[in-house]
Structures are given as structure tokens and as C-alpha cells.
Symmetry: C2
Subunit: 255 residues, 2 copies
């Protein structure tokens, strides 16, 4: 007889990176059903155990945890060994051990959806390879919200991730993406480490054609959130300063 | 003196198309903060007024509406005139009239995020053109959840929308997307009208290379939800039947 197997739950996080703006209760940002599921899970995988404990404390304030926090197992996602970019697949398969003996396992992101623009995807792949059931709980992705808020083409879009840091390589990549956007009518979406937000904005405004529509969403779901969607010509005529400490999502559509 | 202007709120819907599975309370699926905002809005734009009223009744059961349902203004998004594919931009600008005189306006999707893979994007664009503030409230997108649940590359993906219906054109497009996926390491994501789900799955399984990883998510966030992510070789060896009445999201990554 084999033990019944558990499930891998992809648990969405808020988009505030746990900074917990004053008065921002967790249940303002996440569905109650998600908090209930999170409260009963005794096994977690996450990028960072400390921020996961902080998240679970916030959950506990709304839906009491099924077990004391000290008894909840939190394992961090493996990082590639020094000098390598890849983690061996076995390192992910090992994290699934609790599921094989019947426990449900939660995968938590630092912000937004786990495994989307986030290192958890390889754990999800390992779960599928092991024939396990994977359930993505409903939560917000800053990328999806930014596309919606941009007013750009939401029927065809590409998420590119990060652009090169080197200025010449980044300029070349922006021109290449603008050509692809024009050819396919496809919105191009990218993110950046917050302290490089101003540099990426300057590169986009400098490099893109005047008629291209450029949208920047900053601090989505926070009280300070804003989205500016404007032609590059107007971004040039009336520049905006971007904060260098808040996540932003950049998207553009060539005309 | 000019009147203070309202905001355009993009209000997420559940992913169940209002079918309201037994026991599935709205606050299991949407954050309480979203329900509170929805409950106070007196002006709405939506694809369908009837399903919007049904949504507001579900909201009311959890957060009492600020005004009686009959007093809430619900305007349907304009559809292109017969024989045309485009709606004139003025038809969207007109819908923003309440915002110009200080009312907040909600844009509601039939399912998931408004303006993402959804006709509301042009209203959002009109709001930006009028210099109005656009706020995307946190909610789930079936596309983002499906990518997360696929275990495929979540750092680079393209949402393609619908493929051609004609079999030869669809096959050619699948091969073209597979080549792009291989070239850029980019997950390709598409949707289909539910009754054509089985035909699209058959086309993908028939056309893609055996080593390409194909993921299909069906009925995301519903009790019946499932995601299968497997190589095309294994989809061929062990075929799955897809329901023809539940939304599905298809994604693949060439190896």
C-alpha cells in the first residue's frame, strides 16, 4: 500500500514585500480562502524562511494557524552553488519529500504569485515530474496588474524579465523589443531591481520612438501606487521621477 | 473651479464566470479590500450588465452595497458596429463622463482581471488619455495562475491569445510559436473558447516536438481544477480528455 500523496499549493503573497503599510490588513489584499489554506499548511518552501515566518504571523492574526509557528517546517529554495547558475534537479525533488508521505506543501513567493517571475518554477516542474497535484491559489501578480492598468494590448503581450545592465546592450535590446512589438502588435513588459528603476526609465524614454506608448506602474496595490501610460513624446516633454526603492513594472507598445 | 475627478478602478472578478459553485463564497476568491471598494462604487462599465448585477448581489451578501442595486449605473462596453472590428475611441471616452464630475468608476471583467485578455483595455487607454487615475485592484488572472502552475519558464513568457481556427493556419502558427519558444527560451501561452479546447489540445499534441513541455490548466480556482504539465511524448503516450465547457489555458516551452 502506498501512502496518499499531498498537494503542492502555490500560495500568493501580497505585493508589499511584507513591509506592511500601516492599516493594510492581509485580508484586504488576499482572499480569505487563501488565508484559510495557508493557515492549515504545516510544510513550506520559500525563498526566505524569515519573511515566510513574518507572513505566517500576519495570516495567524486573521486565521489562526493549525500548528504553532515553531512546529511549521520552512525550507528555503536551493540557491545555485558559487560559480554555477543552475541548481541540480535533485535538489528540488528532495523538497517534495513531505508531499510523497501525504503532507500538503505550500510554495510562497516574496511578493505576488509563486513561480511567476520567481525562482519557484523549478519546484513546480519537479512536482509535475513526480506526478503530484499542483494547485495555484488565486492572488495578484504585479505583472498582470500592470498590463491591465497600462491600457496597452492585453490580448498579446510578452514578459521579458530583466534587460541587460550594460547601457549599449540594453539600448540594443530595447530597439529589438520595439521592433518585435511593432511587428506583432505585442505589449513588451519588463521589471528591474528598484534602485535601477530611474536608469531603465531613462533608457526607455531615450531609446523608444516618440509614438510608442510607454506605461510605468509603481508600487501596485500600495497606497502610493501610480500608473502613468503616455506616448514617449509626452514622457520626454514632461518627465516623471521614479522612486528607486519601490517595485515598478515597465511596458510599452509600438505604434 | 474644476470639479475633483474620480478614479477608474479595475475590479477583478472570480474565475468561475459567476456560476457560483456550491459553497464557494465570493470572499474565498477575492480580497475583502476589493469587495469593500466594489460595494461603494455607484458607476460601472462592464461587458454584460446582467452578470455585473449578479456579481454585485454576491458582493452585497458580504459587504452591503452603499446604494440599492437599482440605483447603481451599469453601462456595457461598446461593441464594434456590424461589419467593423473597431469601436471609435469617442465611444470609450464617453463612458468616462462620471469620472470627470468626481465619481469613481468600476470596470469589471466577466472573469479575472479587467482589461487583461479582455475588451476593457481601450477604456483604460481612454482614461490615461484623459489624464485620469487608474487603479488595478488585486485579483487573479487565469493566465498568470496557469503559468505559475505549469512549472515552465515564468521569467520569460508570451501570451498569444487565440490561435487561428483553420487547421492548416493553426498548425503553421504552432510551429512558428515553437520555434520562437526554442529561440528565446520563452513560454508560449494561449487560450481558446471552451468548446474548442479538445481541438486545440489535439493540434498542439500532434504538431509540437516530442521533447516540448506542454501544460494545460483547466477550471483554475474551481473545485474541479487540474493542471497537467508533461512532455508532448507523454501526452501522446497517455492522452487526456479535456472538458469542452470549462475555460482552459494552454502553455508550452520548447527544449
Amino acid at each position: 500500500m502506498t501512502a496518499p500523496r499531498g498537494r503542492l499549493y502555490l500560495v500568493p503573497n501580497t505585493l508589499d514585500f511584507g513591509t506592511g503599510e500601516s492599516g493594510a490588513d492581509l485580508d484586504d489584499r488576499l482572499p480569505l480562502g487563501v488565508l484559510r489554506t495557508a493557515a492549515r499548511l504545516g510544510h513550506w518552501v520559500a525563498e526566505n524562511a524569515k519573511t515566510t515566518r513574518a507572513f505566517l504571523k500576519r495570516v495567524d492574526a486573521r486565521c489562526p494557524l493549525a500548528a504553532p509557528l515553531q512546529q511549521i517546517a520552512i525550507v528555503e529554495l536551493p540557491r545555485p552553488p558559487k560559480g554555477r547558475t543552475e541548481v541540480a534537479p535533485d535538489d528540488f525533488a528532495r523538497l517534495l519529500a513531505p508531499v510523497l508521505v501525504g503532507h500538503d506543501l505550500g510554495l510562497l513567493s516574496e511578493a505576488g504569485l509563486a513561480a511567476l517571475a520567481d525562482p519557484g518554477a523549478r519546484l513546480v516542474a519537479a512536482a509535475h515530474a513526480a506526478g503530484l497535484r499542483v494547485v495555484a491559489l488565486p492572488g495578484a501578480s504585479s505583472i498582470a496588474l500592470a498590463i491591465a492598468a497600462s491600457g496597452l494590448n492585453g490580448q498579446s503581450f510578452a514578459f521579458i524579465g530583466y534587460l541587460p545592465i550594460d547601457a549599449a546592450a540594453r539600448s540594443a535590446r530595447i530597439r529589438e523589443l520595439e521592433a518585435a512589438s511593432r511587428r506583432h502588435g505585442q505589449t513588451q513588459v519588463m521589471i528591474e531591481t528598484p534602485y535601477r528603476n530611474p536608469a531603465l526609465l531613462a533608457a526607455l524614454v531615450g531609446e523608444l520612438q516618440p509614438a510608442t506608448q510607454l506605461s510605468v506602474s509603481v508600487g501596485l496595490t500600495l497606497a502610493s501606487e501610480s500608473t502613468r501610460s503616455d506616448s514617449v513624446a509626452r514622457w520626454r516633454a514632461a518627465p516623471s521621477a521614479l522612486p528607486a526603492d519601490v517595485p515598478a513594472v515597465f511596458s510599452f507598445l509600438a505604434r
